[in-house]
Amino acid sequence: MTSDGLLFSEPAAEDDWDGIAAETRVDENALYLELDGWEGPLDLLLDLARRQKVDLRSISILALVDQYLGYIERAEALKLELAADYLVMAAWLAYLKSAMLLPKEEQEDPSPEELALKLQLRLQRLGAMRDAAARLMGGNRIGRDVFLRGAPEGLEIARKTLWHSDQFALIEAYGRVKARTAPAIHMVRERPVMTLESALDRVSHMLGVTLDWMELRSFLPPHAEPRLRKSALASSFVAALELARLGKAELQQEETFGPLHLRRATAHG
């Protein structure tokens, strides 16, 4: 909207309106239009209605419609660009006016009376709120009418933390630290084993004693505990394979998983 072409009297266009001068001053001689100053068509209508200088409950809606339409016409004559909502309101009011002038029996539903009454009620409400705003702003406002203490000492509750713990927590914490940070040493449990070297020695030595086939198990240490016996069996088996590979022993097994026999290799070439 522009504010340079202009037909009507001032609606207060201040940005910092504090509501004290609520009544719009009516100055019929200095009418100019500044649509920016109105908060939409309803606001303009309220302003026009108030110019009728009667209670909002007894304004003439027909006169109000004429005023509004006249206003819009003048704005158009001045080639003012009007916001769409002002034109919509103008069209609606023009319709309302024509409907109101019809004989009662030709009136449609909703009746123009109803529409007019509702418009009037809306204007009353807007007017009431506008007055209320003005009175509200006119009250004893802090910083304008009443003043608070300039330099209040302030109330203060200093929060002080009282730390609490106990002996058990302390000792437990130390235990936790010590346990967590004790050097970690990984030990492999000592187990009785027969190494491959000792099995080789043992088996080749025993092979030297006899020429007969001997079962592998008879090479094992006689009274060994079960864990050592297991280790000795594995080592002796590997030793037997090794001796066979070197051509120092011969192996024989009758059946799968059957007893494994070995004897000294006969020197035959």
């Binding site: 201040e14 908060e39 509702k118 209320a132 705003a133 004893n140 009443v146 203490r149 000492e153």
Partner: protein, 202 residues
């Protein structure tokens, strides 16, 4: 002057924010809120016509200067927030009709309310979001705050200028309700209310 009254007087003098009787009681240790309220009333009466007074604003109490001295003090101290006309209207609508949705505000003003207007009022601490209306769309509804009452010198919303009269004349009711009320009346009454009677006859 008893010790509690002295303590309440001092605390109210020293505080930077208005305080409820309960807050004062809790601040002053183990005082009974009832006793504090009693002390506040006494103080309020005691200061009465002095240069400063003790007032209640939305259940919170504070000291302020007497309003009739405004002209003496205003000169250098005026620091009031200037509000746009739109903002004052929106504030009034919220105050008188709370809680209201933006659509309801707009219905009364006949124009859209820019988000900035509500922001200004919320930033000032005078308006707060008061939940949502349980209707389709669940619109946000707005209400005024204790700071609003404080700033505008109102003891409670009942103190809003003219609110009782506005309520009695139905001006706080929606247009539709008001219309129903009106057309429910007899023809005679309607004619009296109907402003366009003369026009219709012409």
């Amino acid at each position: 002057m008893d010790e509690l009254a002295r303590a309440v007087e001092a605390a109210l003098f020293a505080t930077e924010e208005p305080m409820t009787a309960e807050a004062l009681a809790s601040f002053l240790g183990d005082a009974a809120p009832g006793d504090v309220r009693e002390a506040l009333k006494e103080l309020s009466e005691f200061y009465g016509e002095r240069g400063v007074r003790v007032v209640e604003r939305g259940k919170r109490w504070h000291f302020e200067t007497a309003p009739d001295l405004a002209h003496l003090l205003r000169r250098e101290k005026e620091q009031v927030r200037r509000l746009s006309r739109a903002a004052t209207e929106v504030l009034a609508i919220i105050a008188y009709l709370e809680p209201v949705s933006r659509a309801e505000i707009e219905a009364i003003r006949g124009v859209q309310t820019s988000g900035g207007t509500l922001d200004v009022l919320m930033e000032a601490g005078w308006v707060k979001i008061a939940g949502r209306r349980e209707v389709p769309g669940r619109p946000t509804i707005y209400a005024t705050t204790a700071e609003f009452l404080d700033h505008f010198g109102l003891t409670s919303r009942k103190d809003l200028p003219g609110i009782a009269e506005l309520r009695a004349t139905g001006l706080l009711d929606p247009v539709e309700d008001a219309y129903e009320d009106l057309v429910g009346e007899t023809e005679a009454e309607r004619a009296a209310v109907d402003s366009d009677e003369a026009v219709e006859e012409s």
